[in-house]
Symmetry: C2
Subunit: 151 residues, 2 copies
Amino acid sequence: MDAVDRTLVEALRANGRATYAELARLVGLSGPSVTDRINRLEQAGVITGYRAAVDPSTLGLGVTALIGVLLSDAADLDDVARRLKDVPEIEDCWFVAGEESFVLKVRAGDPVGLEKIIGRLGRIRGVARTRTTIALSTKWEARQIPIPAED
Amino acid sequence: MDAVDRTLVEALRANGRATYAELARLVGLSGPSVTDRINRLEQAGVITGYRAAVDPSTLGLGVTALIGVLLSDAADLDDVARRLKDVPEIEDCWFVAGEESFVLKVRAGDPVGLEKIIGRLGRIRGVARTRTTIALSTKWEARQIPIPAED
DNA sequence: TGCAACAGTGGACGCGGTCGACCGCACCCT
DNA sequence: AGGGTGCGGTCGACCGCGTCCACTGTTGCA
């Protein structure tokens, strides 16, 4: 994971469909050696995949919300996490410190859809209460934050 | 935006480096027509780009936190948003309904790094207070949620 | 000094992306 | 009903890219 690798990762974060030839020109190496490095980055788990970035609102998912999940006493964390995974509208799920045990980011088509999701969450065994925060606008999402110099 | 387009979007969300030939075989069309459709999806703003998915912890960004930002009375929303944008560690920024005006998702290398970010946020003009929730573990992130049938 | 391991280079081959020309269909207007 | 138009798709050809393999140069170590 040297400077060349960091450059490659930056370039692929900006454009996941960059050709190996382009990347080779960018870092001043030959094509095969760039291929080697990227394969190694993938196998090391640095690059976990390549995704098309899609605007959810164009797919009819205009509502974004953050939902805090409070558990009942004696709830099984793993069990709740497993049941949360069955709710397809949850895009992100963090286990957090604080009064709330999980924070979820969900997408819905409209407020009615969001209400249905909240209802489903509340019916999960072990979930005591939810606290929903609606995003009125998304200033930005998934911005590329700089890679720290050291490892 | 018909069923074929949805299939293409799903496929490119799963693998952003899929070749047009693969996609053509998948949907049963010729290469050029798939290229046309994808170009149209890009120009329509459905597909906004292609990104390599990177595991932040392998880059030395092991700490994820959600930070709620409370504003002072008479704070200028746009001005605060602009100053938040200058903080590179903020990966997502939503303007939300509720006592907090913004919710941020930030990444830091360690708790000390997070403390520095919180300090910087608190010094932004118009920011009255912040409330930080640390993610102890990420159950999942950026999961592909299904595309609703209708548009 | 000699050997081994590793990273990179260069060339050759096959496949994929791209472009232009053509086709068929649906829609519309008269 | 007929003709025109535009759109979406196919086909074929050319160029460039990805991939594989053999070779090279360097570093580290015995």
